[in-house]
């Protein structure tokens, strides 16, 4: 066991880095990239605003950290016991205390205004062009298109062994969600068992699926492409293996797809418990 651990940490680190560098070439838009340090690319109006707001926050965050670190560094250099053998006895400065109470309040107001604007923007009820209904299960998703013939299908993860080239592991599903671009889509999220969370980072979607209630959110996809997400609320043993894949296509292709899908999925029995992967807690 010990050798195995050591091998993984020392040897594994080299192969791991190698694999990452190699993977760097395969760049997908709707997912993260190796060594990424910031948010995923935005492909919806909400996510674009999130980017803007986060960039502003980042400036404030870095400024505060740099300020405090700078002061700390100065203190360490200037007020160490060698350079400053006689400590001052100052323990009060009313003006200073008022300033460092007031200035953070100003900064917080500067943050709060765009923050609340963004919040109300993301919550603003849209007049949606269509509805996507999402139902979570342990451990897969099923999707219903109530405005296009009410067909429904299950979306199960594709095992690593049968992935085709270019299909990312743990993110690829057999039946992705297909959605039209430039269309306001109402997304209704619920669950059949435990709490899950429907999340697609580049589309700015993250909504809990809670039993006994239906949550609503919306999205308007701005670019064609494939977008990936993962279940974002601990839901049991296969929580990590419950991907979401969204294929955003033109309105025409979407119309064509709904025709096909209606036939393809009409024959299916209603989403049933039996379809659950044969996994249990024990």
């Amino acid at each position: 066991m010990t050798t195995r651990i050591l091998r993984s940490l020392i040897g594994g680190s080299l192969t791991g880095v190698g694999a990452v560098v190699a993977a760097g070439a395969a760049h997908a838009s709707g997912m993260a990239t190796p060594w990424q340090i910031n948010l995923q690319d935005a492909a919806s109006p909400v996510m674009e605003r999130v980017h803007g707001f986060h960039n502003m926050l980042l400036v404030i965050q870095i400024s505060i950290v740099v300020l405090v670190l700078g002061v700390l560094a100065y203190i360490i250099v200037r007020f160490n016991a060698k350079r400053n053998p006689d400590p001052s006895r100052t323990a009060h400065n009313t003006l200073l205390e008022i300033v460092w109470t007031a200035v953070p309040i100003v900064i917080l107001v500067i943050i709060a205004i765009p923050s609340l604007k963004l919040l109300y923007f993301s919550d603003r009820a849209q007049d949606p062009d269509m509805t996507l209904k999402v139902t979570a299960h342990q451990w897969y998703w099923s999707y219903t298109y109530p405005d296009h013939g009410d067909f429904a299908f299950d979306s199960l993860p594709v095992a690593a062994e049968v992935l085709e080239a270019g299909q990312p592991r743990l993110l690829t599903v057999d039946n992705p969600i297909v959605l039209p671009v430039d269309t306001t889509i109402q997304v209704l999220v619920t669950t059949d068992d435990v709490i899950h969370n429907f999340a697609v980072p580049s589309l700015g979607l993250k909504t809990d699926a809670t039993p006994g209630r239906v949550n609503e959110t919306w999205v308007r996809i701005s670019k064609e492409g494939t977008y990936y997400g993962m279940c974002s609320e601990l839901c049991g043993v296969n929580h990590y293996y419950m991907p979401i894949q969204v294929k955003a296509v033109s309105k025409e292709r979407f119309a064509a797809w709904t025709q096909e899908a209606k036939e393809k999925f009409a024959a299916r029995p209603a989403p049933a418990v039996a379809a659950a992967p044969a996994q249990s807690i024990q």
């Binding site: 919550d123 009820a125 059949d192 024990q282």
Partner: protein, 197 residues
């Protein structure tokens, strides 16, 4: 000195008694939160809880001028319940204040009578406080005989204030969702047993 000490001990005991009372009160609050939370949701429409109860008649108030709102219907059945459950009309366009009757349809696949109960909520959540249900199958448990097909009515109206509240004025589509669950007595054994292993 002795007196002071005795006083000190009494004060100590008194403080401790007060603190134990605080603990009991907070513990009680946790249990009291069950009905309190439900009441809070019903009163404020918090978390998408629609209003329920009799029609309070404001039909003429904002009707017409404010326009219309589309109410869409959504249905879910817990997979432990062998029912089919769907709205008959997928959506209706209603005028504010107008009393509307719609139906859901439920069908029992099983070969035995089964009782179900429905939870419900309205989205967007902020519209819930202006969504009033006068009559609903979800207020009581529903029992379906084997193979029975029933029509379940819902009577509701949308409060015209929806259009006056700046927070909800832009709402043009409201979704009413139901989820049917089996009532414990029948469903308990198979569901728990199945999941157990």
């Amino acid at each position: 000195m002795l007196g002071a000490q005795a006083r000190g001990i009494n004060r100590t005991k008194l403080t401790a008694v007060i603190l134990f009372a605080v603990v009991a009160a907070m513990g009680g609050l946790a249990f009291a939160s069950v009905p309190l939370y439900r009441m809070f949701c019903q009163v404020t429409g918090f978390a998408g809880t629609p209003r329920t109860g009799a029609y309070v008649g404001t039909a003429s108030a904002g009707a017409g001028a404010a326009g219309e709102v589309t109410v869409r219907f959504d249905a879910n059945v817990n997979s432990q319940l062998p029912w089919q459950f769907q709205p008959v009309e997928r959506q209706v366009v209603v005028r504010p204040g107008e009393e509307v009757l719609i139906h859901y349809r439920a069908h029992n696949f099983a070969d035995k009578p089964i009782t179900g109960t429905a939870t419900f909520n309205v989205t967007p959540f902020k519209a819930a406080q202006y969504f009033n249900k006068i009559e609903c199958f979800c207020f009581t448990e529903q029992t379906l005989k084997p193979g029975e097909d029933v029509s379940m009515p819902v009577v509701f109206y949308v409060d015209p204030q929806l259009f006056e509240d700046p927070n909800t004025a832009e709402v043009r589509k409201i979704t009413l969702s139901y989820t049917f669950f089996p009532v414990e007595t029948q469903a308990q054994q198979p569901s728990a047993g199945e999941k157990a292993l």
